[in-house]
Symmetry: D2
Amino acid sequence: MKSIDVAILGATGMVGQDYIHMLANHPYFRVKCLTGSESVGKRYGEAASWKGAYDIPSKYADLEVLPTDPRVIDADLVFSPLPTDVAKTVEPLFAKAGFPLVSDASTHRMEKDVPLIIPEVNPDHIELIKIQKKNRSWDGFIVTTPNCTTVGLALVLKPLCDKYQINKVIVTTMQAVSGAGFPGVPSLLIIENVIPYIKDEEEKVRIETLKLLGKFDGEKIMNANLKIAVSCNRVPTLDGHLETVYIESSDKLDVDDVKETLRSFQGEPQRLKLPTAPTQPIIVREELDRPQPRLDRMAGSIPGMSVVVGRVRRGIDEHSLQLTLLSHNTIRGAAGTAILAAELLLAQGWV
Amino acid sequence: MKSIDVAILGATGMVGQDYIHMLANHPYFRVKCLTGSESVGKRYGEAASWKGAYDIPSKYADLEVLPTDPRVIDADLVFSPLPTDVAKTVEPLFAKAGFPLVSDASTHRMEKDVPLIIPEVNPDHIELIKIQKKNRSWDGFIVTTPNCTTVGLALVLKPLCDKYQINKVIVTTMQAVSGAGFPGVPSLLIIENVIPYIKDEEEKVRIETLKLLGKFDGEKIMNANLKIAVSCNRVPTLDGHLETVYIESSDKLDVDDVKETLRSFQGEPQRLKLPTAPTQPIIVREELDRPQPRLDRMAGSIPGMSVVVGRVRRGIDEHSLQLTLLSHNTIRGAAGTAILAAELLLAQGWV
Amino acid sequence: MKSIDVAILGATGMVGQDYIHMLANHPYFRVKCLTGSESVGKRYGEAASWKGAYDIPSKYADLEVLPTDPRVIDADLVFSPLPTDVAKTVEPLFAKAGFPLVSDASTHRMEKDVPLIIPEVNPDHIELIKIQKKNRSWDGFIVTTPNCTTVGLALVLKPLCDKYQINKVIVTTMQAVSGAGFPGVPSLLIIENVIPYIKDEEEKVRIETLKLLGKFDGEKIMNANLKIAVSCNRVPTLDGHLETVYIESSDKLDVDDVKETLRSFQGEPQRLKLPTAPTQPIIVREELDRPQPRLDRMAGSIPGMSVVVGRVRRGIDEHSLQLTLLSHNTIRGAAGTAILAAELLLAQGWV
Amino acid sequence: MKSIDVAILGATGMVGQDYIHMLANHPYFRVKCLTGSESVGKRYGEAASWKGAYDIPSKYADLEVLPTDPRVIDADLVFSPLPTDVAKTVEPLFAKAGFPLVSDASTHRMEKDVPLIIPEVNPDHIELIKIQKKNRSWDGFIVTTPNCTTVGLALVLKPLCDKYQINKVIVTTMQAVSGAGFPGVPSLLIIENVIPYIKDEEEKVRIETLKLLGKFDGEKIMNANLKIAVSCNRVPTLDGHLETVYIESSDKLDVDDVKETLRSFQGEPQRLKLPTAPTQPIIVREELDRPQPRLDRMAGSIPGMSVVVGRVRRGIDEHSLQLTLLSHNTIRGAAGTAILAAELLLAQGWV
């Protein structure tokens, strides 16, 4: 396959560096442009101050950090891990200038003509691009991916909603500190502690899940008919959001049947064998004490791209179910899903 | 008030030492006997190997560790923080020998003629002692207190169940490592991690809560009519169990009304002004990010005896509610509730 | 004793709040003025955003936050926990305006005519105030207290240097995150990790210790004749700096003799029975595994004001020694030593 | 190269599982026999209860756990990660029965005719096998590898002692919890804490380093002429022992020269290109805040086999030096060094 040039906006931040890392050996995406704000003009290797455990790949270390301005960008596709407020003004400029843009900022996710995509969950919503381009007279477009906490939940609910009439979902999350970016959560607050609140997170998870599981009627998304209540907590883990999920259905929920439904789930990325698609989007474990963030966040054929489910068990009666899920918040929850979405856009001819 | 001599069985363990610490300045309970197993004959100050942050009070350091045998114990009242299996054979021997015994072991909690007590929640269940003594022909008796995770939940549900018809409760816990005793949870397992499972805990919380909120008809306890689903998790905190709670009711649940109901709750210990009774059994905080284990576990007029509630908010509709609660697992969740129960037994003339 | 009005500059920060907390029940210091920067005009109870585990004392919650300007301050004594750069311009203004000012900022510590004081170590250095007032034509003065890591080390070295000819000290520190203030160390960096570097800290510890242990000849401080090498590390603890210390002497260092020398050490604050003086400035423990930050940081008659020493043992030969010490970095290492210095200034008639 | 059959004694423990993991893709060592104690007769996949983050390789999961008895073992080479007390009686039985045995137990390390080996440091000590076999009339032999804390220190001191006259070394360690095995350090003790003591560890580091750096004169090892003082601390990290090292020499120690000496160090395993030999045994980093346990413990061409050095700087004068080093305690500090030693024994014809 021929090489596709990509640009990463805000590439010096923590999530920007995840893109760099995940794309370092990609079969066809080539990072051609990197943008920043205060570090414009510097070498990327110097500008990216915090690198976590991995070093900047040498082939990208010498790229010059460019301003986040469509006029200086030369790329077939743009990834935007920009902060919310910057994304608001900058992303439309890129779309208007003709770039296909995949964003994991929250800014445009809930706009009616903007697709919010998990490639395994709602690939058909991508068609909303047509409405968007018409509405806004853009040559390019914006496609968004969900909040890091939403992704794991929506992925697990998708095959269940396809098979059963799910009415109610009660979720409690235990989220890693990397979800708050860098510098993020002060150690003074979180060491030997849990913070039972993350600003705006519960509402994001609720409304994004309803849109993701909604139906596209050719014109608009009709939200899924489902009640969701969410409690978000920050715990002292580094990566991996753990979620306990209680589900109610009009149908009887047989535990073995549910496990088999989750295990056998395959989405469009698996059928197309996209490079960043894990062979199993959902891994179900039988051990009583799994998934655990430290042990399971990198599970699967593409590390960090599979959601791990465990403790599938009866709820309060045969119409309800409990399970625990884990998804890697910066891979499946950010860069990884955006890259997978871009691969799907390319496969479908949108790029 | 005249002094009451108490004995503590298994006093060299972690919870045993909590009793020693909480009773060091008690107005009328005097620790007269301490028992152990391998350390029999040693000075208590040497036998209690791990003392946490507090030193053994000097007045108890020289007590000799006695065998756990009613024939050598001289006391008006016995506290039993024994391990489950030891409690099974030993506690009945003490009750048979005429001792009033308050146990926080799980062993006898669910037996039909054994009161399971939180003094603020179900003081009337103490009357079950009469049935127990008759059934078993004992001169003494066993009264039990709940699992450390149950206490906070049942305390918060009590005033709500008194006021509203509560039908369903979905709980997720984030429990501190001290809940597993000492040596307890290996650091290799829990540092930078969450373990989404605690053996037998979910079922204990469910069935104990139903008994605690049940009605005593003069003969037996009729369980509360309530559906409960629980997910228990171990997190890397030292003390304080945090719980997210989702509640459904046939009644409309007004958030302000619920907060006021919780805040104004007073139980029998408060009315009797028992020494270990906190002035407010339930503290409701308005900040978005409270309660937090490290900041709030020692809240209240008797440190560690109040449950702290926060984030009281709507659930999925006006018939449902969400809140987060915190209770200190070794104080309110063990030694503190047992001492408070003993104070109530004394006030009611059972001792 | 009559009441002394004090002002706290930069009172809304983390260390500022420690002063508030420590002065809440002081026998004669009364907090009359509090200053801030962005929060000027607000109630202190609202301005102090992060309060840690303790709430703002109600008697101070309603004080208005004033600008940090001597013209609006009415006080007998000023405490300055200001950031280094702000202290540079602001503290001289207060001294010039006639205020006695005790600072724990690093800014002026090493200036030749500024006393750097630990009340137990070098109370005679206070006389330097005379030189300072003469040099600078100030009505007031600046007295400084050391870096949080220096205090414990200098306190322990003082009685040893008085008794033995100490030539060389090799120190490794394991410092708590609160030493970096708030927000301070990002949790992403320190959870399950050690950072083997703290900017400028090693040099501060070295030069401050030499000044503290130096002799005042009536005109200037002559540094102690001692070689010091320091390695500073940040570890994931909340409070309490732990330090391993290797000491070489021309004299033989008998372990029992050293322990007795440390245990029996008494300084001027102890002789004057100053309110914030712990009865034992240095506590020596015999257990093999103490001091530990979490268990020992609040040791002593004034919690957090005693340095705890353990593992006193031979070094490489009879002229060398090893020990481990712990001192509370925000109490003995900041607010506590400043308050104790102020008490000494008052007792000596400087205020 | 032809395949070599190896046996792992005590294979179900934590270190035993490290061997399994490291040997899973070894070019010539094949795990043929696994032994255990309580789990004899079980499948290895079931017997190895705690597996950390990695699953048991499928090719070994079905091996039957054998008793630790030379009569049932069929192997060319035996690895022994047995507990100290078991090693005492069992290892000589294997050596007597003719097996070449590489042990990382501490039991026999300091015996005069037992080689204590780090392949890069003292490969010539292996010749001691001849003395051992003669003394003990054994067909096989025992070769030992050092304590996990010793390895990193001795590796870094080796090139320095070769080049400079080193007289004195003062070391402080910050050790990970995995160094204590499983279950090891209780989380109640180490969360938000440092424990300033590890039983017997300081003396082991001292005497093992002197033996490792000693000269073999054809008959016996003459210890290095060097004074060492050690302070060992347990910190809440999972893997990777960090050590601050202060060094004194009769020679001037130029910082750049020292760095170059460390960087360019190559040992016999590198010259022989042994499969488990990292290309650089010592990696020197220039960043001020490295090495860090979480970021650097898996550095190098063979993850976990390189020691990472940073902060190389002057000590108290030009004859002294300070540096910080990190080595992975269960890889370079146990299984990895033992496997590398076995590769060297094979290359030299001892197996």
